[in-house]
């Protein structure tokens, strides 16, 4: 499983969190610029895109939506709202591959989404 970290803020923390949770199951966890990361997802060089920003949908997903398509993207956490664990799992099952959330949601959201991804594969 190949992960790319796009978005705008807290990329290092996000990449470390993904590496820690995915362990050996992740073939690669790469930090990229948001455009490169979205391109990697679109061209199939990456399987999943994760990004953070202050709103969960702005810098986190903007390029992913513009380049890879809105149907691939979902905001899992935004100011004042985090999706429930079931909703997150359901979105992974439904084939979403790019996930956005706010920096402060990383600890709440990433474990759930990583677990859902490995459950699906």
């Amino acid at each position: 499983m190949r992960f790319v970290i796009g978005g705008q803020i807290e990329k290092t923390k996000l990449a470390e969190t993904v590496r820690r949770l995915a362990g050996d199951k992740a073939t690669s966890v790469e930090i990229m610029g948001d455009i490169e990361a979205a391109m990697a997802l679109k061209t199939g060089q990456a399987d999943y895109y994760l990004g953070a920003c202050n709103t969960g949908g702005g810098g986190a997903l903007a390029m992913a939506i513009a380049i890879a398509g809105a149907d691939k993207c979902i905001t899992l956490g935004m100011p004042g709202k985090i999706l429930s664990d079931d909703e997150i799992s359901a979105s992974v099952q439904a084939g979403k591959t790019a996930f956005g959330f706010t920096g402060q949601d990383i600890d709440a959201v990433v474990p759930v989404v990583i677990a859902a991804i490995f459950q699906r594969s």
Binding site: M39, G56, G57, G58, G59, A62, M63, I65, A70, G80
Partner: protein, 448 residues
Amino acid sequence: MEIEFFTRLIAVDSGKLIVIAMIGAISSMMSNRCIAVFHDGLRPLIPEYIEGRMSRGVLLASSFALSFGLVIGFGLPFSLTAPIILVHSLLLGTDVIGIWCPNSRKGFIASGIVGALYGIALLVGLKSIVDLFAMMPVNFMSALSKVGDPIIVCFSLFPALVVAYQFGYRKGLFVLLATLIGYLATQSVGSLSFGGQLEKPVKLDPNGIALLFAMVVMFYFAMREKAPKLPEGAKGSNEMLVGIFSERIKRIQKNQWLLVLSGGLTAVAATMSMSLLAEGPVSLQLMAAGDANGALLVALARAISFIPLVATTAIATGVYSPDGMKFVFVAGLATNNYVIAFIAGCAIMFMEIKMLAGAAIWLDRYPGVKACGDHIRTAITKMLEVSLLVGGMMASNAILPGMGFMIVAGIYLLNRTSKRPLVEMAIGPIATIAVGILANLLYFVGLG
């Protein structure tokens, strides 16, 4: 005295009402026609709507979901502490209003009217709440302004944090030390009179000077990082983006006049003498404290940090932001004259739009600057979280000694376990408002 200062800031004169009504109207109309929206996350959804993959209803629901929490939990609490309107409160609202009005000639006009009314309601509503708070038996308005006290000195530390994020702890520590030395040195010099040649000595602001030097170091480090040499014929990522989306860039340029007008008006609203709109929580607090230079430098750093984000989302979507890359706020803070601010704001917006593609391609050569932009936003968020938490605890404790500390810490820690969390940096202001209201309730039941 502090209360007097508030009254002056919040005084609703006809000039302020006209400016905010016009900005509200134009922003709503640009959102209605999908020319510009403020929320960076809404911009990529607009082409989905224009090109028929998303209905206007779904777009409206998404825009509401994106903006509502931010207005209530971020824009308004900060606007109340100063009280200067944080621009998010206004423009996230006009994003939604524009999309809510139908896509027709009537809808276009209606969006302008509703947008103007929203701007006026925001200004008058803010004043009414401040008046209401001031009428309560336990008046906590002056304590509320203390929430921002730590920011007023801590803001000059953010370049050190940016350098640490980007180039490691040791370099960050070096910049931190340089910032502190710069602060001390400026403080010891005090004021410059150039050997008595100036009648009025120029008083140096230690925080501003320290920030200025730290920012120079920060951008020096960022600019030194050059892009790896690309193989013959290969393109940088932004250049690729410009290539793919050239039609969308033309769309922005076609619609530039409303944007130019909006830029000019925003610059007027951002002048110190009007003090109507602020671009972010830090410059808002500095404006409220009367520190124009500090506010200017922070606004400048933030605007530079927004170039990559605004340029790439604009190029990829063909939709701009009503405030562009936020340089219009810098123009307002740099001049205190409404006419000059208006002209400068218009000119800046015009140039931003003309140079949109060029700037993005230029940024390919300096990947360090783009990364620096991301780190500036992370660093400012972190700095605000700490400063506003401490400020909120001090302010709350001034209102309710003892319990104030406990309530703010309690809200902060419990929030982290919530599925509907408040924006962490807004907890200081929100908790302090809550403590102020609680203090009044306790007074009424005879416990205060």
